[in-house]
């Protein structure tokens, strides 16, 4: 044991540079992944934290299309039959007057209403509190959902108003009819309706509720002022009481969560579409909108990639550092140290390094996270709220353990190789070479195993069916297959790499080149480790840059359709009234049309003047324009159509204010109409339909207006902008943006959103650099005698440095080219997976930028990483080298 510790300790301390580098490599590898995990976890937490605390904690608010009180149990059962929905909870509301009970001898009951229209009585199912934490009971007990006794929970305010407390009886009374007047949208007009009169138009059922009948309830508890209890005038009861209480007016909604690992929001929407509509889906979309989901998948994939690369670099760092010590292994074995004990020495050493690295990774990860928080880089893109609430210790510890294990594997693997050599071979050679038989060796078996695994995994399918989205799983398998395939090729034809490097070097002449060439053929292991590391990292670089470019080209396509030749103006209410005047006084603004009226059903529906259809791809289609104006029809944006899976002529059921669910026909799918600078998922309906079905007027509303004149140059638009400003006055012009500007903002936003990928990439590139650095240091150490000898016979330090630089540069070129070879198929796979995941129409673009950054980056990293070892070689003490050993 003493010997083990002594040797391990000396080796770590006598080569502090190497020790630190290795630990840094391990630390950085782990830290990268830990940082990504932590940021991702907290991005979601931060999104969550933004949820209003006045609401129950539920992902979805679901409304049945059929408004029939009797259908409630069937609807609930239908929802509960979906596995992906959790905590399906029905609730219904109504306005009632609460009155303290009139006792025979006591004073007359005090009653309370709220703003003259009763308090909100809400009937809920038990899962409201069990699953959604919709309320908290402050005093008294919770409702007994099993019992038939009429029970109530009151907000403290209500209780104080009428002077009751827990245990008292209260009466619920319908407010007088005049207080129950509701406005309804009827034929484009908001109409006041008194329930009981027009309310029961058909007169189908007998009047169930006597308007003035009082219902007696027991107050079982008081609500804490949070979630549902936050509203001052809140009264809760059980759903079974609610059914009786609301009678024919019962209108049931549902809260539900969905299993985000199993399905995304669109999947939920599609599954429910026929009988339900999802209201306020925005709440569910925290990290769930398709783009966001795709983005996070991308980030997680990238993090996974970083983990893989990190472990690979860690493995190679450790294994290469052992390679140079084969002579020592040989000597110790010659002196009678058994393999087991030898393994002990190296494991202790590797373990210390790995732990050092893991420790370092904590500091590094903390810094990286801090930088990301400061730079507002989140896993949902740029500028989303991000506070660090907690560290996801489980995965973090997992990653650390993986890092340590791979470090140790990196030690054990070459050790096994080294101890297979005869003692004398080990002593003589001083290095181990990769085995020359193509189908032998641990590394090969691992790779071939991986290759074999891909088809098996393909047939078996994604783990747990829904844990990984199918497209992502397929992409992952394809990528794994390709990476393993390329690596296996390199291993089987391992002469390829040194030959390629030598061929490259042949371009140059001189003694240093000859030397570099000779050393390259003698160091297959190092060449392989260095180049494959560079290849993997830069394939990842290529992948990310390509995906970004694809995304940008998609955005450019959208810009061309929805933004170019347009001017967006946001007017305040008074100026909005001027818009008609504007159209007259500034001739080019004929098309200055409002796009400001919106309703939210499953998606955003915006009113767009039919005159807009006079421009663009639908121009001239009279029938279409008439249908747009007169029939229930709509035009979908491309992303809306893709996301929700609609095509032209499909019927889309929207819940209207006037007639409940109405089928709208899809007239066209295009981005040209109805775009406002904040949302790409929308439908355009005519102002006539907006009025007819939702009773909303387009004119004289504040908000966005668009001027669209095809062929107008930017200069013309700017001049136009100036004139509009002149007419309405600067103060009333809230915002004014050129379409093209918005387009470039989108593009810039992509760049900012991709900051996280670049952050991860920079870290892995650094990791690769450390790998190269290590490899070249080892090269220098391996060759110290040779270098010393060359120096002794007259090679200058500069020449030695040049030799290393040239060699490493050649590694960079080969690594970069291979990175492209690997990166292109990976990028194609990624673009396809993202298209499937996000419904974005991503097409792989071979951009010069991606090509350039990969080649230049690989060479740069290789050359920069060799500077330090070159310097070292330059300053080596000749006497020491020549006497060493």
């Amino acid at each position: 044991m003493k010997l083990i510790l002594l040797l391990a300790w000396r080796h770590l301390v006598f080569r502090p540079g190497k020790t630190l580098l290795s630990a840094l490599g391990i630390g950085l590898g782990i830290a990268t992944v830990v940082a990504v995990l932590t940021v991702d976890h907290n991005t979601l937490l931060s999104q969550h934290a933004r949820r209003s605390f006045t609401d129950p904690e539920s992902d979805l608010l679901i409304q049945p299309l059929e408004r029939n009180p009797a259908a409630y149990p069937r609807q609930a059962a239908a929802l509960r039959s979906h596995d992906f929905l959790k905590g399906v909870t029905a609730f219904a509301t109504g306005k009632w007057t609460v009155r303290s009970q009139v006792t025979e001898d006591g004073p007359a009951g005090k009653e309370t209403t709220f703003r003259g229209s009763g308090v909100d009585v809400m009937a809920v199912e038990s899962s409201a509190v069990d699953h959604h934490a919709a309320y908290v009971v402050d005093e008294g007990a919770d409702l007994d959902f099993g019992s038939d006794e009429p029970q109530l929970l009151l907000s403290r305010w209500v209780a104080e108003q009428i002077g009751v407390t827990v245990g008292d009886l209260v009466e619920l009374v319908r407010p007088p009819a005049r207080q129950r007047v509701v406005t309804r949208c009827v034929d484009g007009k908001m109409v006041k309706i008194v329930p009981g009169a027009a309310g029961r138009r058909q007169g189908g059922g007998p009047p169930t509720t006597d308007d003035d009948r009082a219902l007696l309830f027991r107050v079982v508890g008081l609500l804490a002022p949070t979630n549902l209890g936050f509203a001052r005038h809140r009264v809760l009861t059980t759903m079974s009481q609610g059914v009786k209480l609301f009678g024919d007016d019962l209108s049931v909604h549902f809260w539900a969560d969905f299993d985000m690992a199993a399905i995304d929001f669109l999947g939920v929407e599609a599954a429910l579409r026929n009988s339900f509509t999802i209201k306020e889906p925005k709440r569910a979309l925290a990290g769930q909108a398709p783009e966001e989901a795709a983005f996070r998948s991308g980030v997680r994939l990238c993090g996974f990639l970083a983990l893989f690369l990190g472990l690979y670099v860690i493995f190679n760092t450790m294994s290469m550092s052992l390679v140079e010590r084969v002579r020592q292994i040989g000597l110790l074995r010659a002196l009678g140290v058994t393999r087991g004990r030898l393994a002990g020495i190296f494991l202790v050493e590797g373990g210390v390094l790995a732990l050092l690295g893991a420790g370092l990774s904590v500091l590094l990860a903390e810094r990286i996270v801090a930088v990301m928080v400061a730079a507002r880089i989140t896993t949902l893109g740029f500028g989303k709220p991000l506070e660090i609430h907690e560290v996801p210790y489980g995965p973090v510890v997992g990653v650390m353990v993986a890092g340590v294990v791979f470090s140790l594997l990196g030690v054990v693997y070459p050790f096994l190789r080294a101890s297979k050599l005869s003692v004398i071979d080990a002593l003589r050679r001083g290095v181990i070479e990769m085995s020359r038989q193509p189908f032998k060796g641990t590394r090969r078996s691992v790779l071939l195993g991986l290759l074999a695994l891909v088809p098996v995994a393909w047939f078996v399918g994604a783990p747990g069916g829904h844990v990984v989205a199918q497209p992502l799983w397929e992409a992952f398998l394809q990528a794994t297959g390709i990476v393993a395939g390329v690596m296996a090729l390199l291993l089987v034809f391992q002469g390829m790499l040194p030959s390629a490097v030598k061929a490259l070097l042949s371009v140059f002449r001189g003694p240093t080149i000859t030397l570099a060439k000779s050393t390259v053929s003698g160091a297959r292991h190092r060449v392989f480790a260095t180049i494959s590391g560079l290849m993997l990292v830069f394939a990842a670089v290529f992948l990310v840059v390509s995906v970004l470019e694809s995304l940008k080209s998609e955005t450019r396509g959208f810009s061309a359709a929805a933004l170019d030749d347009r001017l967006f103006v946001k007017l305040n209410p008074e100026a909005a009234a001027l818009s008609a005047t504007l159209r007259g006084s500034v001739p080019e603004t004929r098309s200055l049309l409002p796009i400001n009226t919106e309703v939210f059903t499953a998606f955003l529906v915006r009113s767009v003047d039919a005159r807009m259809l006079g421009v663009g791809s639908l121009a001239g289609d009279k029938d279409l324009t008439r249908a747009y104006r007169e029939r229930p029809t709509l035009i979908l944006s491309t992303r809306c159509a893709d996301d929700f899976g609609y095509v032209t002529d499909d019927r889309v059921t929207l819940v209207t204010d006037a007639d409940g669910p109405v089928e709208f026909r899809v007239l066209a799918v295009t981005d040209e109409y109805g775009f406002a600078p904040d949302d790409r998922i929308f439908a355009a309906v005519s102002p006539e339909n907006m009025r007819r079905y939702w009773c909303r007027e387009s004119n004289n509303q504040p908000g966005w207006y668009v001027a669209w004149a095809p062929g107008l140059a930017d200069d013309d638009l700017e001049e136009l902008a100036a004139r509009i400003e002149g007419v309405v006055g600067a103060g009333r012009l809230l915002d004014l943006r050129l379409g093209r500007e918005i387009g470039s903002e989108y593009l810039a936003q992509h760049d900012r959103d991709f900051a996280i990928f670049y952050a991860i990439l920079v870290l892995t590139v650094m990791l690769a650099a450390i790998g190269v650095l290590n490899a070249m240091f080892i090269a220098v150490m391996e060759r110290r005698r040779e270098i010393g000898l060359l120096r002794a016979v007259g090679l200058t330090g500069g020449q030695v440095a040049r030799m290393l630089l040239v060699e490493s540069g050649a590694f960079g070129v080969v690594g970069g080219v291979l990175g492209l070879v690997l990166g292109i198929p990976l990028a194609i796979i990624a673009a396809r997976a993202l298209t499937a995941l996000s419904h974005l129409d991503l097409v792989f673009v071979l951009s010069p930028r991606a090509l350039g950054s990969v080649l230049a980056g690989a060479i740069l990293v290789a050359v920069v990483a060799v500077l330090l070892p070159a310097l070292r070689a330059n300053h080596m003490k000749l006497s020491r080298i020549m006497r060493y050993e």
Partner: protein
């Protein structure tokens, strides 16, 4: 006579493969009796080192057997072979092979550290333990390691170098350290590959005298490989190897080991 401590039979070693396959050691059969000082002489490239490596268990032969301490060396597992080496053999490498990260003192003590606390695994091997046949030391008797280290340091004049690292030593000093390392645990058999190759003739003579004394006083066995005829004169037996072939008929022993005898044989074998 007792079972020899080392016996080889029909030992062959080939390097290379196919056409380039050449025998470096050919059909070598050699016996070394315990307590003897045996030298193998031969020109450079004759296969001396290769032979020594094979008999010490460092490199397996292509064919033939080696019995060390009565055990079939290559019939043993790798682990037991290693332990046998640890317990039985002291090896002086032609290229000293010191551990660069350890001081002179630590390099000398390396075998002690390796053996520390471990029971001699092959005690039953019959000849295990230093000086079993003479001297009076019982096998692995609680040897005073400190005294032994001090003695070797004294003999090799390494007293002021103990804290130095190998790269701070002269070639001769490194050579001496590697000899001291081979001796420190009092192995039953010492195998030395040109131990005087890099030191002055005077220092070389001291090393040889020390070997001689180890043999005479401690009953250790010595197997020396050299091309230096003066070294050979210290031994009980001299064997000659040329082109990998051991010329057994020309071996000298006992009173036959003289400067003239060696010179004659070398001349006759055209070495």
């Amino acid at each position: 006579m007792d079972e020899p401590i080392l016996r080889t039979q029909g030992l062959y070693k080939f390097y290379g493969s196919g056409e380039g396959r050449v025998p470096v050691v050919r059909d070598v059969s050699l016996e070394v009796a315990a307590g003897r000082f045996v030298t193998v002489m031969g020109p450079s490239g004759s296969g001396k080192s290769t032979l020594l490596h094979m008999v010490s268990g460092l490199e397996p032969p292509s064919s033939g057997t080696v019995h060390l301490g009565g055990l079939d060396l290559y019939g043993l597992s790798e682990r037991r072979r290693t332990l046998l080496r640890r317990d039985l053999v002291g090896f002086v490498f032609q290229f000293y092979n010191l551990i660069p990260n350890l001081t002179v003192d630590e390099n000398i003590r390396l075998p002690l550290m390796i053996g520390a606390g471990a029971a001699p695994v092959l005690a039953g091997a019959g000849v295990a333990g230093g000086g079993a046949t003479g001297g009076g030391d019982s096998p692995r008797a609680p040897l005073d390691h400190e005294a032994e280290v001090a003695r070797l340091v004294e003999v090799f004049q390494l007293g002021d170098k103990l804290k130095s690292y190998p790269h701070q030593l002269s070639g001769g000093e490194m050579q001496r350290v590697s000899v001291a390392r081979a001796l420190v645990s009092r192995p039953a058999i010492i195998m030395a590959d040109e131990p005087t190759g890099n030191i002055s003739s005077q220092a070389g003579e001291e090393v040889m005298q020390l070997f001689r004394r180890s043999c005479d006083e401690m009953g250790q066995t010595l197997l020396l490989v050299t091309h230096n005829s003066r070294d050979a004169l210290f031994s009980d037996e001299v064997h000659f190897i040329k082109d990998g072939h051991l010329h057994a008929e020309s071996s000298l022993s006992g009173a036959g080991v003289t400067a003239d005898g060696v010179a004659d044989t070398l001349a006759r074998l055209r070495i």
